[in-house]
Symmetry: C2
Subunit: 213 residues, 2 copies
């Protein structure tokens, strides 16, 4: 399969709808997160060079560097989601006749599930970073396009929650109690940070736009 | 510009991030809504033909027809969003020297703003229809892929809220009081229906998955 960025939106849509496991929700989440980052970049690009926003130019340039990196990282995570899923799938095909085979299969499956937990967690972390850009960009960015920062807020938040579904699902299947505790704790912390970033980002966009989101 | 479905995900992402008004948040919202519909179709496609879910086959076929129509409609709305924006933009270029010109320009602008309100409203309505499919599909669909219905829930909800930002922004600029009252009322009703569909859809997915979303 070609890398996700090279596929047309229509072809990706058909593949998403089809009876095939990839691309799936994890890929759709990564793309939505990437689009949120793109919209943050758009608001910044309409702010830079505009004399009215000259006082925030330096900060905006730094935010743009972050949003552009996040946009590319999240697109790449759509591919990594497919790889992580395929690694789990491959384990189902491993032989399970002898006890040794069964043990090897289970061990491989458990390792693959750990990767399949870490990839969507990374997607969620990148979406949190996008969410954290909404407050300064929504407050200081070009007011004519801050509605796009509002869209970014909703999409990044949905992408984050979506990615965490796959984290939760996989954690349920992992038998390494230490791993489960560690990643559940990290998940809870991330959810808390996301709620804070969402609230401050929403307020900033509302104040600039003069509408309730 | 080619129709959105034909553009690669990477090229669309670059265009979204660039200092150009289209594609913007409206298009990103329509695409996210379309991806949500695609994920509903995916869950249904993994349910149909599976003997374990034979008892829900007829209902699922009907839901699939709806989700597939919504998937295409929402993709097409990404194009209509560009057209509606361009129509508003074109008004800014109209002459405004004489009083007659000013009046014609204002009238054209007001008409264009009404279209630019109705297109994202239609996007939000289609997203509501996607949201309303989550409950039956999340409850009765193939449990192995209901996590994808959970992603669809988040994306459709975010796309709906995103589209409504553009409705709110445009309503603020429209001087026809009757129009504003009518569409504000419709918007409030839609938000209420969406909240109900979101809550029932979320519960259904949680019950099937055994995790809290």
């Amino acid at each position: 399969m070609p890398i996700t960025a090279d596929i047309s939106i229509g072809v990706f849509s058909n593949a998403l709808a089809a009876k095939q496991s990839t691309p799936g929700g994890g890929g759709a989440a990564a793309i939505a997160g990437s689009q949120a980052a793109a919209l943050v970049s758009m608001v910044i690009n309409f702010t830079l060079g505009n004399p009215k926003y000259g006082n925030v130019e330096a900060g905006m340039k730094a935010y743009l560097e972050q949003s552009e990196t996040l946009r590319q990282d999240l697109l790449a995570l759509a591919d990594r989601d497919v790889e992580a899923f395929n690694a789990v799938s491959a384990c189902y095909g491993m032989p399970k006749t002898t006890d040794a085979e069964k043990a090897a299969r289970t061990a491989a499956m458990q390792e693959a599930l750990k990767s399949a937990t870490q990839v969507p967690f990374l997607t969620a972390e990148k979406c949190l970073a996008v969410l954290q850009l909404i407050e300064p960009v929504g407050r200081q960015g070009n007011a004519n396009v801050v509605s796009d920062a509002g869209v970014a807020l909703y999409l990044a938040n949905a992408a984050l929650s979506s990615a965490l579904i796959n984290v939760s699902i996989n954690l349920k299947l992992i038998k390494d109690g230490q791993f489960v505790i560690e990643w559940s704790t990290r998940q809870a912390a991330l959810v808390k940070q996301a709620a804070a970033a969402y609230a401050t980002g929403k307020s900033a966009c509302e104040a600039t736009l003069g509408v309730t989101l």
